[in-house]
Symmetry: C2
Subunit: 428 residues, 2 copies
């Protein structure tokens, strides 16, 4: 571990507050940096990451060794590991962000008043983003790229196991900022693995942090949501539902259910519960449950589902709110749309839910009444993704109700102000 | 005071949590109530307020008597007092809200993906609003009207001095809800003046409150901003600036400065500081300061301003961040746009600032760089108002960076969800 990371704890609070002040100053400068300059810096970052791949991999080897000594499992070590291909992917990510439109300065709407005032609502950066993440060192580059393009300063807090890799990456990114005349403090990595740093960030660094974005496991997100005194863009979990009605095309329902559950089981948009309408129990229940089981999925069902297929295990009350993130699904027969909506309201996580039906009226009622960030009709829940929405890169998915809801991309990292152009108007 | 308001304190927390649960249930129902039904209820509320004017005024007399006994001053008693005219104004406010477009269900944007998915961003209610206010009982009706129309439930916390008036008004509003088949708990008044109720609301009532809106003096807003664990729509103060450049038309600058400062001195959009560019010191400083003084405004200036007019009092460091809300203005000579922007960043409250200049390039730079909710060119800061922006009624003005910034009207009381319509799409 580097010397700076081992500095005594009593010096952490003033250091963190100082980082916050530097970030605030950088944000003020960055808020009116030109698109061209930001893009040039992003391109330079990409090139520098590739040119310094050996240095990054060397630091990464130290991190991996440390994590292995701590007894971290294979999945953890895989998330942590970087090679040439992964570094190239990071560089590509930065180039992709450079190619996206700059949200800053975009006019969201404008109108004229009878007195001649011209009013516009214009996108401006949020300010300072606090990014708290765990083992994936690529988040350093992804988050820095998105925040830079959207005109925000970022304070990055890397997990301790990926600290050295993140430090090398952050230093490379900072070099590119300086070379392109952008404020060095626009991208700062917390230079210590001391856990108290997270607490200071969650308290907002004396008003310097505008929003916290956690990226990592459920315990990290839960702590951030519990303790943060500033807004948080996050989702704790994605307990996503697919609701199949009797009018659903069976082949379509099968495709959607299998895709929603099994395409990738570890992502937040994966379906965790299948609700079958009682009117569809005799037609859709058995084939859908059979298809899931034959595709290798464990099915935990209510009594009616258990009767439909002897391979179904009994579901308990713990299954309905469960995010398996695995090839397991809970299946329940519900009594009409009202019951489906009530089940989702009670057990869901306001993330993503889909209805499969040929009844357009029922679909529209479901879309209107289910209170989730994303609601779909006749499509897989696995589309819950900024890229699939056409937003380009995303920093995560938010299930809160404020400001950013659903995929958090460049636009969601901005706020707005009202710009009013007059010709001497005074208020009567 | 009524018996319910005097109930022992230990019963307050469960009562508040219960109100929160009722509000959450009401919000779920209200989120898909028809525009027609909401408008009919609003019209009925207006009619009922007028029909029950005598009853409201009787309760108000009790409140006024209590406040007088507590030694409240004339301004306080005036804010508290209702008469037939003020009740008619409340009723008109509700009818105006009924006439505004319903934001719920509005499609903010929509686009198609190459795979045929149709994605829309659709406005939905925020959920449950916690409204904490002081002496003005009309806030009961104004806030209930705006939250109802935007599909939100509201928990109203009236100041103790206006409690009886607010209670009578809230009961009348609830009657109209019931008569129109809307959930009774969509509008709830906290039935106690015990101050601990505010603390429970600021803690969010176990996740039941989505946002707090304070309406009242600076100490109330400061407490809410300090203690709230949920988002807050508010402004603590409006230290608004007018910056005059050398190219400004002198007559226009005089009109704007006088209007911005003196039209109404007690509103948050009133100017508190005048910045004169050093290049304009010989041409604009003396006439503008003279005009202010002759209009009855006290001027506190830096040394250069003091030299320009012997009637100018010396400004101290305490004047620059001061919100006078009175016929007093601080005046400073600044060295160019950079210096003006830096002064505003240091002492301003991110509320509303105006530049007066004929130099369009300088104006655009000011509009881009000043980080306030509202920035104006050649117009009075007193336009900082939802009505003047054409938004219809407003619940307040927010200076935070999140979600609602500037006037908070119906649209700002909504959030959005993504509605995705497919034809069987699965993710590859």
């Amino acid at each position: 571990m580097s010397a700076i990371a081992d500095r005594p704890q009593e010096s952490i609070e003033p250091m963190m507050l100082y980082m916050g002040r530097l970030a605030r100053e950088a944000a003020a400068e960055l808020s009116h940096a030109s698109t061209q300059r930001k893009n040039a810096a992003l391109e330079a970052m990409a090139a520098k990451l590739e040119a310094n791949a050996a240095k990054i991999i060397e630091a990464n080897q130290h991190d991996i060794e440390g994590a292995r000594k701590k007894g971290r499992d294979a999945a953890f070590l895989d998330r942590l590991a970087l090679d040439g291909k992964r570094i190239a992917a990071m560089a590509k990510g930065l180039r992709d962000i450079a190619a996206l439109p700059d949200p800053v300065g975009q006019v969201m709407e404008s109108w004229a008043r009878p007195n001649g005032l011209e009013i516009s609502r214009v996108r401006v950066p949020l300010g300072v983003i606090g990014m708290i993440y765990e083992s994936r060192p690529n988040v350093t580059a992804d988050a820095a790229g998105l925040t830079l393009k959207s005109g925000n300063a970022v304070i990055l807090r890397s997990g301790s196991e990926s600290f050295l890799t993140s430090l090398v990456i952050a230093n490379i990114l900072t070099e590119a900022l300086i070379e392109h005349g952008l404020p060095e403090a626009a991208i700062q990595l917390v230079p210590t693995v001391d856990r108290s740093a997270v607490g200071y960030m969650l308290a907002g660094l004396g008003g310097a942090i505008d929003v916290i974005v956690p990226r990592g496991g459920k315990s990290l997100v839960a702590r951030v949501q519990e303790e943060a005194r500033v807004p948080v863009f996050a989702h704790l979990e994605g307990v996503c539902h697919v609701y199949v009605q009797a009018s659903a095309d069976l082949a379509m329902a099968r495709d959607i259910v299998l895709n929603a559950k099994l395409r990738r089981t570890g992502i937040c948009g994966a379906a965790e519960t299948l609700l079958i309408d009682s009117a569809a129990a005799s037609t859709h229940l058995e084939p859908l449950v059979g298809a899931l089981i034959e595709a290798g999925c464990e099915v935990r069902g209510d009594p009616e589902t258990q009767r439909a297929d002897s391979r179904v295990k009994p579901a308990t009350d713990e299954d309905w709110p469960k995010e398996y993130l695995d090839a397991i699904i809970a299946v329940k027969v519900v009594d009409g749309l009202e019951d489906a909506v009530a089940h989702i309201a009670r057990y869901g996580s306001q993330h993503t839910e889909s209805i499969v039906t040929e009844d357009t009226k029922a679909a529209e009622e479901f879309l209107a009444r289910v209170d989730s960030a994303i609601v779909l009709h006749n499509a897989s829940t696995q589309f819950a993704d900024g890229g699939e929405f056409g937003m380009g890169a995303e920093i995560g998915i938010a299930t809160g109700r404020f400001h950013a809801r659903g995929p958090v991309g460049l636009e969601q990292l901005t706020t707005f102000k009202y710009v009013v152009r007059g010709s001497g108007q005074i208020r009567p």
